[in-house]
């Protein structure tokens, strides 16, 4: 029998050409959290963030929700951004919120690459996808 199970689901929308909106969910046997976050694609700066704590372990945990706002202005492309998020959002707030933000950060380039490949395939269904991704870079 499974004794511990955690799922993370990260979805990405593109409300405009230079903004990505993440919806991140983390559910496990102990915790249940959600984060919505908008990020500027060009420099990875967090523009907007909101969170919902659905399942937690003690009465102090919900005080971590407003701490999420300190993530605004941080860049998901800066050197050491993961440690900074874990320190500022995780230690001063909630580690599980930080884990979701970090996973959104891991998805940033992957989601843009995916969008660009999808758009390119609409124009050219026979496109060499491996070649496209090998040559892919963030548009200036």
């Amino acid at each position: 029998m499974i004794s511990f199970n955690r799922s993370q689901v990260i979805g990405a929308e593109f409300p405009d050409a230079d903004t990505i909106r993440f919806n991140g969910i983390q559910e496990d046997h102990i915790y249940g959290m959600e984060v919505q976050m908008e990020v500027r694609i060009a420099d990875g700066e967090i523009l907007k963030v909101d969170g919902n704590m659905k399942r937690y372990t003690n009465f102090v945990c919900p005080q971590a929700v407003p701490v999420l706002q300190t993530a605004i202005g941080n860049s998901l492309r800066d050197e050491g951004w993961e440690s900074k998020i874990m320190k500022e959002i995780g230690r001063k707030g909630c580690e599980h919120f930080a884990e979701i933000i970090i996973e959104c950060g891991h998805c940033l380039d992957q989601a843009v690459r995916s969008r660009d490949l999808s758009l390119a395939l609409e124009k050219d269904p026979g496109l060499d996808q491996h070649q496209f991704l090998q040559n892919w870079s963030i548009s200036p």
């Binding site: 029998m1 499974i2 004794s3 511990f4 199970n5 955690r6 799922s7 993370q8 689901v9 990260i10 979805g11 990405a12 929308e13 593109f14 409300p15 496990d28 046997h29 102990i30 372990t57 003690n58 102090v60 945990c61 005080q63 971590a64 701490v67 995780g90 230690r91 001063k92 707030g93 909630c94 580690e95 996973e103 891991h106 998805c107 992957q110 989601a111 690459r113 995916s114 969008r115 490949l117 999808s118 996808q129 491996h130 991704l133």
Partner: protein, 163 residues
């Protein structure tokens, strides 16, 4: 607005008949599919076996994932793991996906051991007893002190504790 990208990740811990733990870590998104399996020896927490498979558009540095992952066999889950795994699998030419897979699997193993204590604490309904239970947990697990807002010095849970 429809999603243009979706990533699903799942980590599962399952005790084996021999007392060891089997950990399965999987990732699937529009461009990538990863499967990492590990066996952890209990109680010394040594990674006995590790296997990895990657599919779809495999990132640079991860092409030999099934070979790379073997490097973590023999490592113990414990303090310094982040640095050790980062050193073995990460870096500029490394595979950050495997680093994350191993660290998240190790975290899931720790939460496998944490879950029964939290479950027992839920049976306590008296607020003072609940607080005393949290304080006892902190005293027995000092690594949790200042690890999150609940265990910072200003938290009511920390009051009266000299940690």
């Amino acid at each position: 607005m429809i999603l243009r990208f979706l990533r699903n990740k799942l980590v599962e811990v399952e005790p084996r008949p021999d007392g060891n733990l089997s950990v399965s870590w999987r990732l699937t998104d529009d461009l990538l599919k990863v499967d990492v399996q590990m066996i952890i020896q209990v109680p010394d927490m040594e990674i006995l076996e590790a296997e990895a498979k990657m599919d779809r558009f495999v990132p640079q540095g991860c092409e030999s994932a099934s070979v790379l992952i073997k490097r973590i066999e023999g490592i113990n889950i414990g303090s310094g793991l982040r640095k050790i795994v980062g050193g073995i699998l990460g870096g500029a030419d490394g595979c950050s996906i495997l680093v994350n897979a191993v660290l998240e699997s190790a975290n899931a193993v720790i939460l496998h051991f944490t879950r029964p204590g939290i479950q027992m604490g839920e049976a306590v309904t008296d607020a003072d007893q609940k607080l005393a239970g949290l304080q006892a947990m902190l005293q027995s697990s000092p690594r949790l002190v200042r690890s999150c807002i609940s265990f910072q010095d200003e938290s009511p849970i920390m009051q009266g504790l000299n940690l």
